[in-house]
C-alpha cells in the first residue's frame, strides 16, 4: 500500500498546471466571464481552451493508446479534473471526457459534448447546451442500458434557457416530456450505472479543486491584508476559519482519491458528499475572510460560490447519497 501520488502522477498534474497557467490564467478566466455575459453564455466554453485541453490528452486520458488515448485510469483523471476545478475551467469537462472514443472529436477537444441525466423526476438541467455539439442522454428507464447520444440541436429545440446564476455555466431546462421527444442517434459503449459513477468522481474532483483553491486564496489574503495594525491572518478568528477550510479540503481530497482508486460506489458517494460540502462551505468562508473586498464583481471568490451552487452532472441530492451510505452499514 502506498496511497501517495506516484512521480508520474505528480508530473501529469504539473504539466496541466503549467498549461492552465499559460492558457487559462486569471485574465483568461475574467475574459471568459465577460464574453459569457456579453453573449448570454453561448460563448462558453472557449473553443481554444477546449482544443488545448484535448491536445494534452485531458479528454482522451483513459482511452487505450491504440485508440489515440493516453491509456491512464480514473485516479489520473481525478487529479487532472481537480486542477481544472481549481482554475474553474468552464465547460462540460466531465461529459466530453466520458464521450471520448464514442463521440467523434471529443477526445481531441474538437467536439464539445454535454450530458443530460433524466434519472429522477424533472425538470432536468443541461449545461453548456448552446456551445455543445452532442449530448449524452441517460434516460430514467435505461439504468442498465447503454448510454445514448443526441445531436445538441435536437435537444436545444426542446429546451428552455435559464439565466444561470453562474455566468460560466449556462443552463437549459427540459421536462420529462421534452426528453422523450428527442431523437437519439447513437450509443456509447458504457453502462449508465458505471458512467454515473465515473461522472460523480470527476465532478467531485472539480469541487475538491475549487475547495483547495479557496484555502489558498483565503490564506494569501489573510497574510497580506492588514486591519487594526496587523495582518488579519494573525487573528484567531481568521486563522481558525482557514484551518477548518483546510480540514474540509484535505478530507474531501482523501475521499476523492480513495473513490478514484477503488471505483467503489459507496466511497464515490462519500467523496461526492464531502466534495460538495467542501466546495460550498469553503467558498463561503473564503468570502468571509475577504470581507467586503470579496463581495465585488471583480473578486474571483464569487465565481467559486456560484459554481458550487450549480448541481453536479449526474449528481443526486445529498439525501440520496446519505441514504445509500446508511444502507451500506446494515
Amino acid at each position: 500500500m502506498d496511497f501517495r501520488l506516484t512521480d508520474d502522477q505528480r508530473a501529469l498534474v504539473g504539466a496541466l498546471r503549467d498549461l492552465l497557467a499559460a492558457r487559462f490564467d486569471r485574465t483568461a478566466l475574467r475574459a471568459a466571464v465577460d464574453a459569457a455575459e456579453a453573449e448570454g453564455g453561448t460563448a462558453t466554453p472557449p473553443r481554444d481552451i477546449w482544443r488545448a485541453l484535448g491536445e494534452t490528452g485531458f479528454f482522451g486520458l483513459r482511452l487505450p493508446e491504440a485508440d489515440g488515448g493516453v491509456g491512464l485510469g480514473l485516479p489520473e483523471a481525478a487529479l487532472l479534473f481537480e486542477e481544472a476545478g481549481s482554475a474553474l475551467v468552464p465547460g462540460p469537462l466531465t461529459a466530453t471526457h466520458l464521450a471520448a472514443g464514442a463521440v467523434p472529436g471529443a477526445a481531441t477537444g474538437e467536439a464539445v459534448v454535454t450530458l443530460l441525466d433524466a434519472r429522477v423526476a424533472g425538470p432536468h438541467s443541461v449545461a453548456h447546451l448552446d456551445a455543445a455539439d452532442a449530448v449524452l442522454v441517460l434516460t430514467a428507464d435505461r439504468e442498465t442500458a447503454e448510454v445514448t447520444v443526441a445531436e445538441a440541436s435536437a435537444v436545444r429545440r426542446r429546451a428552455e434557457p435559464l439565466r444561470s446564476v453562474d455566468p460560466l455555466t449556462p443552463l437549459h431546462l427540459l421536462t420529462m416530456a421534452d426528453i422523450s421527444e428527442i431523437t437519439l442517434n447513437g450509443t456509447v459503449p458504457a453502462r449508465a450505472v458505471a458512467l454515473r459513477r465515473e461522472a460523480a468522481v470527476l465532478e467531485a474532483a472539480q469541487r475538491v479543486g475549487s475547495a483547495g483553491r479557496m484555502v489558498r486564496m483565503a490564506v494569501q489574503h489573510a497574510r497580506e491584508r492588514e486591519q487594526f495594525g496587523r495582518p488579519i491572518g494573525s487573528f484567531q478568528a481568521v486563522k481558525h476559519l482557514c484551518a477548518e477550510m483546510l480540514v474540509r479540503a484535505e478530507l474531501a481530497r482523501t475521499a476523492l482519491y480513495a473513490a478514484a482508486v477503488t471505483a467503489d460506489p459507496y466511497e464515490t458517494a462519500a467523496a461526492r458528499l464531502l466534495a460538495d460540502e467542501a466546495a460550498t462551505r469553503n467558498a463561503r468562508d473564503c468570502l468571509q475572510v475577504f470581507g467586503g473586498m470579496g463581495f465585488t464583481w471583480e473578486a474571483d471568490v464569487q465565481l467559486h460560490i456560484k459554481r458550487s451552487w450549480i448541481p453536479s452532472v449526474c449528481g443526486q441530492e445529498s439525501a440520496a447519497d446519505e441514504d445509500m451510505l446508511a444502507e451500506w452499514l446494515l
Binding site: 425538470p123 446564476v165 486591519q227 487594526f228 448541481p311
Partner: protein
C-alpha cells in the same frame, strides 16, 4: 412582560393602516432598478407623501421637525409599511437615518435649518462617505484627508460602498483633518463634513457586487473644496459626532427585514408544499426550525425596542448595543439559511439568476460581512457585554514559511 400594545399604539396602527390603504393604490409603478433618476424621483415622491401625511421623521425629535414617536410607534410604522408593501426608504435612507439625526443632534441652528427640512420633505438626497477600501472593518483607520485652506477644506481620497451616490445632493463625509501620529488613537483627528455632490473633483464610479447589481459606488475625491461651515461638530471631533447617530438606533433597524423574511418563509413553505419537496422531512424540519428562528427574532426586536424605550424614558440616550450585536449575529445566519433552504425547495430552478430568491440568496451573503462582520460582532459581545479581556496589541511574530499544496 407585556406584549399587548396600548390603546394609543393600536390607534396609531389603525390610522396608519387606513392611510396606507388609501395612498398605496395611487402610487405610480415602481421604476426599473437600473434607472437611478427614476428611483430617486420615486423614493422622494413617497417621502413627500409621508411628509404631507405627518409621518416624515417619525422617530426624529420634534425640535428637529420630527414627530417624536416612541420606539414602539416606530416599530409599528415599519411593520405596517412592510406588511402593506409600501415603498422602502430607498434614496432617503442616509438622510433620514444617519446624516439627518447627526445634524439634528450636533449641528448648529443654521445647519439644522439648512439641511433638515429638505430631507423631511423629500427634496434632498444624502449619501454616506465613511468606508474606504483600505480600512474595511477597521473604519477609524480611514485615510481621506482634508487640508484647511482658509474657509474651505481641500479633500482628497476615496470612499467605497456608497449607496445612491449617483443621485445624491449631499454626502456625509468622514475625513482626517489631523494626520495620524504614532501613539495617538486612530479615531482622533477625524472630522464630519457635509459635501455637496456637485462640487468639482467628485467622481462616482458604480461598484458592481457579486450579485451583479450596482447598488453601491466608489467615490474618488480629488481636491474637492468643502466650506468649513459645512463641518458639523468641532474639527477633529468627527468620530464622536458620528457615534452620536447610533444613539438614534432604537432596536428598529431590522423590523422591516424580519417581517419580510417571515413572509418569504411562508412563501417558501407553500412552494415546497406545491412542488413536493415538503414531503422530505429534512426540508420540512428546516422550515420549522426557521419558523422558530424568525419568530424569536421578532420577539427579540420587541425586547430591544422595549429596552430602548425604557432607557429613553428614564435617561435619554439609548444605545442597545448588546441586543443589536446578539440580534445581528443570529439574524444574518438565519437569513442565509432561509435562502439556502429556498434553493433546496427550488430544486432545478435554484440556479435561475432571475428568480428573486436566488438574487436574495446572493445578496444575503453580505449579511455576515457588512456593517461589522460576524467576527467583529462576536468580539463586541465578548468584550463589551461579557467583559472578557481585549487581545494584546503589537505586531504578530513571523511564522515558518508556508506549507505548499500538492
Amino acid at each position: 412582560m407585556d406584549l399587548a400594545y396600548t390603546d394609543e399604539e393600536e390607534e396609531f396602527r389603525a390610522r396608519l393602516r387606513a392611510w396606507l390603504g388609501k395612498v398605496l393604490p395611487t402610487l405610480p409603478p415602481p421604476p426599473d432598478p437600473r434607472d437611478w433618476p427614476g428611483r430617486r424621483a420615486y423614493d422622494t415622491g413617497w417621502q413627500r407623501l409621508l411628509y404631507e401625511a405627518g409621518y416624515a421623521g417619525l422617530h426624529w425629535p420634534e425640535d428637529a421637525g420630527g414627530r417624536g414617536a416612541t420606539p414602539t410607534q416606530h416599530l409599528i410604522y415599519l411593520e405596517e409599511t412592510e406588511r402593506a408593501g409600501a415603498p422602502y426608504v430607498g434614496a432617503n435612507f442616509v438622510g433620514l437615518l444617519h446624516a439627518g439625526p447627526t445634524i439634528a443632534a450636533e449641528g448648529t441652528e443654521r445647519q439644522r435649518r439648512r439641511w433638515l427640512p429638505p430631507i423631511l420633505r423629500g427634496e434632498e438626497v444624502w449619501c454616506q462617505g465613511f468606508s474606504e477600501p483600505d480600512a474595511g472593518s477597521d473604519l477609524a483607520s480611514l485615510r481621506t484627508r482634508a487640508v484647511r485652506d482658509g474657509d474651505t477644506y481641500v479633500v482628497t481620497g476615496s470612499k467605497i460602498w456608497t449607496s445612491h451616490a449617483e443621485v445624491a445632493d449631499w454626502c456625509e463625509l468622514l475625513v482626517r483633518t489631523t494626520p495620524r501620529a504614532d501613539g495617538t488613537p486612530k479615531h482622533h483627528g477625524i472630522s464630519w463634513l457635509a459635501m455637496p455632490m456637485d462640487a468639482p473633483g467628485v467622481r462616482v464610479r458604480p461598484l458592481r457586487t457579486l450579485a451583479g447589481s450596482t447598488e453601491f459606488a466608489e467615490m474618488f475625491l480629488d481636491e474637492v473644496r468643502v466650506p468649513v461651515g459645512n463641518r458639523v461638530g468641532a474639527q477633529d471631533d468627527g468620530w464622536r459626532v458620528t457615534m452620536v447617530t447610533l444613539s438614534f438606533e432604537r432596536g428598529t433597524a431590522f423590523v422591516g427585514e424580519v417581517v419580510a423574511c417571515r413572509r418569504t418563509l411562508g412563501e417558501v413553505a407553500r412552494a415546497a408544499r406545491a412542488n413536493g419537496t415538503w414531503d422530505d422531512p429534512a426540508v420540512r424540519r428546516t422550515l420549522g426550525r426557521l419558523a422558530a428562528e424568525f419568530s424569536v427574532l421578532w420577539r427579540l426586536t420587541q425586547w430591544n425596542v422595549s429596552a430602548s424605550q425604557h432607557a429613553l424614558r428614564t435617561g435619554g440616550s439609548a444605545v442597545p448595543g448588546t441586543g443589536a450585536s446578539v440580534f445581528k449575529l443570529r439574524y444574518s445566519q438565519a437569513r442565509q439559511l432561509l435562502y439556502d433552504t429556498a434553493a433546496t425547495v427550488l430544486g432545478p430552478h435554484a440556479p435561475d439568476g432571475d428568480h428573486p430568491w436566488t438574487a436574495e440568496r446572493l445578496s444575503s451573503l453580505s449579511y455576515t460581512i457588512a456593517a461589522g462582520t460576524s467576527q467583529i460582532q462576536r468580539n463586541i459581545v465578548a468584550e463589551r457585554v461579557l467583559g472578557l479581556p481585549k487581545e494584546p496589541r503589537g505586531l504578530p511574530e513571523r511564522s515558518a514559511p508556508p506549507w505548499t499544496s500538492g
